[in-house]
Symmetry: C2
């Protein structure tokens, strides 16, 4: 396979320039006023008529000739005869002579020959007419035709974003449809034999995964003002891929390919663009995002995004979204930044500019701490666990703990969580968090929670391991744990001893987990009982070292028939319809950072901890 | 007409509280992932499966048993035989034994018995196998099943706003539809016999005007996350109004009435709510916006907005939009504020809290100046000429020139104009502005422009009156002016003398306008010629004091048959197909504030002034 040589990765600035030179569409279209909100005007709109279209009474009162009021005052009113009435929306049916007045409503047409009006508060109706207790000048309390805007005047210029306010002016002008910048059509082609659309069944054994990039990219295109068109998957087959790419290029202004990380898919896309179109750039010196393609295909602009979701979205946000916004006439969103202190040291050696995703947490004094969020290439949870980006120049090798950094938020709407907790993955915690406003929680187990708390990053830890006093106990609950077995307990497992003495396949939790510590303690008791060393028992358990990250995972493994016994909670066994052999009960405590007990999110959590009786009832094996 | 007594206007805080107590809808609905962008999650989403669903190779390379690499290094590689290949998206068809390796692609399923992988860069294929030049630990370069997120773990909490990032996580979980907060349905009823929908013909003689509030309110509802339902107009008839209001109340969560300012329409709405529903609040101590109604009707919440568009939108933004956002689960947008200096003194005496709309302009040093925008009740252009609001407490009677104020921008996206110009309403100016990025321009005539420039508010003035040197001349053009007559000149008007000597109905421009000055000068010349005083000539002109605001207005009056001769430009006569009798030519100059010639918007304008040859060609009677 011979590739055109792009020896050096392009500098990010060069990638920006290359994409800026592409034609990403635009043009204009006519939309109805009701659909125009948020769109951008493509042409100037001049007023086609006068607003108001007639001399208009500004108040309720009486229309008359101003000169007939000259000299009138509270003590010396002028006298008028009332010769008629004009309501809003009717043609004046009367003419006005000297010392004659017409009752007139706000917004009504001034009669001919009336040149001013007096508000009703300054008048008095008497038996044979009207007393006017003030003098008015010609034009007073009248909005002249065209005074708001007159026919021929410039109303709105091209490039104006249409909000409620601009739509108000357009409707006043009687405009019911407007020329707006067309939304660039952006075709999204995801590649890779292993991708499955959400909603369909995925076969994990075959290595199938759900397509993420099509959805993140489509949402990003929409947010940038474009119209996403998601094409059916192309496999890794050259012909099929070429057909889909060409169809997308024919129908769209810009084609984005994304999806598979497999080398074969990337190679196929590369060849289609290189041979059928024009390849302008291959690779950019930024992390995440290196393997980016820029080119043209069949009259459309083309950008190939990296395969991993975090990289794809990062490249999309940095390089592609600005081009879509430009084509759509949308202005760049205000960049929202936050100054923060690095909570941990972050190393990196690589020589590429790096965009480090970080989460934010406010410390006790309201200062912001930033901690790197890096769950490894291919993790999708890091998409939602970060609040923004810290940029590391190519020649910087680390960010030090306590270093001052500027965090560029993902959008101006991003606000740091009100509460940042780390600890046990527990079904009561999940439900408790639902009652809080914008919490963030990382399920890193009891030991992980204590570590994040001790490091001064987390506001609270949720921990069932209470050996060390690392925080202030805000409250907690107990949960019954034991062995999860298939429904009906077909192996007749009766307790921990069966794990040691019988041939059953066990699934454990990792050492970070509270249940793992409780299991270790129970095994130590069993070893004492038998007068043997604990490690002897452990070595007899088939699968003791086979651990799964999340609290339901061992039970699910049992449910799937891939194990006989899993470490878990009675609540989990009940939820999944499994059998359960109780071993013990442990207390789970919510521990607060002593310097953050006054933080509103922590106070909110402490208050909710008093109100968990319904959750305790809902979860079998839970109690105070 | 007896009204329930609401003696005192409610404090704004009371109005907020009353609206907060209303049930403005909400609930939840299921939407597809493709439609979920921007919506707010109604329920917690837990992972229903492990991501990844299998132990996944993180790189291209070789899967093997870690223990077989122990001790291997660059100089002392371990040897393996290659027993197969696994691509992404396929089920591994091989088993691995001691010192065996399988070629594996990024994202592919790890074969059973392989517990680590070595990237291709650290290996070398040799004739009879593979050299591995590094040692790896169990699990290295492998993403374990569930390591990203495991089945049963909390993925996203209720209240989460779904952006591209959250949609990425949901798609990774295979979720193709999500429960989101329903958009509150907001019925919009506009009232008033005089209202006409944009796009239909308006009969100004009958006092008809276009409906503005339905459109601004609908756009505002959409921006706040609600779903607007615009109902057909109700007239001022009690039965018809009641039918429409009840229908809207049956079908919607919240009904907003708005539209007419006529007392009768307001009274009818008041009676429907008071008699058929429940009236909770009538009148709020804020300006603009006093006549606000809050209540309930047939199970729906109800808010009556004032009639004038600026007041209606202000009350909507201040009191109603937050309630819609709450019901939709959308968070309050970040309040964007700007500190500014008042450019003018603004007086107000009234005892109500006042929201003063202001425009913003950056001065030469980048400081912001705020000037009040108040074109009087009922003006719709003030909707777009302001950037935000300065709040004046009820007990403050004025804002002083030079006072420091905080301007709350209408939205975080609002940015002050790049250029602020005031002056002649001129067709070349309109076109020139189209070439600039976000200019603002007020057509206040030559004298108005000079005044705003002299006061240090405007960046530039566009003026044909060059008596006083008030700014730096950046360039300009000449325009031919004269008398606009009906096509074919049926009255045989030959020049200014005919206005004086014959019975023709003339339409003039106001004294602010440059043409008015040119006309005055030409009449002075005629008076000299005739050896009379100018005022004698002026007094003989029928309509000399009848002035219209905008540059096309006199010509349009002639076109409509309501006048015989109008003061205007050759370009206007040509555009409207009228006859034209030339009188003179005047120079229009663009004058810059001497302290702002370095402002980018001013520099941009100066550059564009050199490029107006096409505009001069396009406009008859224009030249250098």
């Amino acid at each position: 396979m011979s590739r055109k040589e792009f020896r050096d990765l392009a500098a990010p600035e060069e990638a920006h320039a290359t994409i800026a030179d592409l034609d990403v569409g635009g043009g204009s279209e006519i939309v109805s006023l009701a659909e125009a909100s948020g769109r951008v005007l493509a042409e100037r709109v001049d007023a086609g008529l006068d607003v108001p279209g007639f001399d208009r009474s500004a108040l309720d009162g009486y229309a008359l000739r101003a000169r007939d009021t000259f000299g009138a005052s509270e003590g010396d009113p002028a006298e008028f005869s009332i010769v008629g009435t004009v309501e809003a929306g009717e043609r004046p049916a009367v003419e006005i002579g000297n010392e004659e007045a017409v009752e007139i409503a706000t917004g009504a047409v001034m009669p001919d020959d009336a040149d001013a009006m007096v508000p009703v508060e300054r008048t008095e109706e008497v038996e044979d007419g009207l007393l006017v207790r003030t003098s008015v000048t010609p034009g007073e309390n009248v909005m002249a035709a065209g005074a708001d805007i007159a026919a021929g005047e410039r109303a709105l210029g091209p490039g104006t974003r249409l909000t409620a306010r601009e739509i108000g002016l357009l409707s006043a002008l009687g405009v019911d449809e407007v020329p707006v910048r067309a939304k660039p059509r952006v075709g999204i082609v995801s590649t890779g034999d292993e991708l499955v659309r959400p909603g369909e069944a995925v076969d994990s054994g075959r290595g199938q995964i759900y397509d993420v990039n099509s959805y993140t990219t489509a949402a990003g295109v929409k947010e940038a003002g474009g119209e996403p068109v998601v094409y059916p998957h192309a496999g890794d087959d050259m012909d099929a891929m070429e057909r889909v790419l060409r169809k997308a290029a024919d129908e769209c202004d810009l084609v984005l390919s994304s999806g598979s990380t497999s080398a074969s898919a990337v190679d196929v896309v590369y060849h289609v663009i290189d041979e059928q179109g024009e390849l302008l750039l291959h690779g950019v010196a930024i992390k995440p995002g290196k393997p980016m393609l820029v080119g043209r295909l069949a009259g459309a602009a083309y950008v190939g995004l990296p395969g991993y979701p975090v990289s794809a979205l990062s490249i999309f946000r940095t390089f592609v979204a600005p081009a879509i916004r430009r084509a759509a006439g949308q202005s760049e969103p205000a960049t929202a930044t936050v100054e923060a202190w690095m909570a941990n040291r972050e190393r990196y050696e690589g020589g590429r500019r790096r965009l480090v995703p970080v989460g934010l947490v406010a410390d006790g004094s309201g200062e912001m701490l930033a901690y790197p969020v890096d769950k490894g290439s291919g993790a999708t949870t890091s998409l939602v666990e970060a609040d923004g980006i810290v940029e590391m120049p190519a020649d910087v090798n680390y960010l030090d703990e306590g270093e001052r950094v500027t965090v560029e938020l993902f959008s101006p709407e991003v606000r740091p969580p009100t509460l940042f907790g780390v600890g046990e993955d527990d079904p009561l915690v999940s439900r408790l968090l639902d009652r809080l406003d914008r919490p963030r929680y990382l399920g890193q187990g009891s030991r992980g929670g204590q570590r994040w708390l001790r490091d001064g990053v987390a506001d609270v830890a949720v921990s069932s391991v209470t050996e060390a006093e690392v925080g202030i106990d805000l409250g907690g609950w107990t949960r019954e744990w034991g062995l999860v077995v298939p429904d009906g307990n077909p192996d007749g497992v009766e307790g921990l001893a069966d794990l040691v003495d019988r041939e059953v396949r066990f699934v454990n939790r990792p050492t970070e987990s509270g249940l793992r510590t409780s299991l270790a303690n129970a095994l130590a008791d069993l070893a004492d009982e038998r007068g043997v060393e604990r490690h002897e028992l452990v070595e007899s358990i088939d699968g003791f070292e086979f651990t799964l990250e999340a609290h339901e995972s061992p039970a699910r493994r049992v449910l799937a028939g891939d194990a006989d016994v899993g470490l878990g909670l009675r609540a989990t066994a009940a939820k999944l319809g499994c059998g359960f052999i109780p071993v013990g009960s442990e207390r789970v405590a919510v521990l607060a950072n002593p310097e953050r007990t006054d933080k509103p999110g922590v106070e909110e959590l402490e208050a909710e901890l008093d109100e968990i009786d319904d959750l305790l009832d809902e979860l079998p094996g839970y109690g105070r």
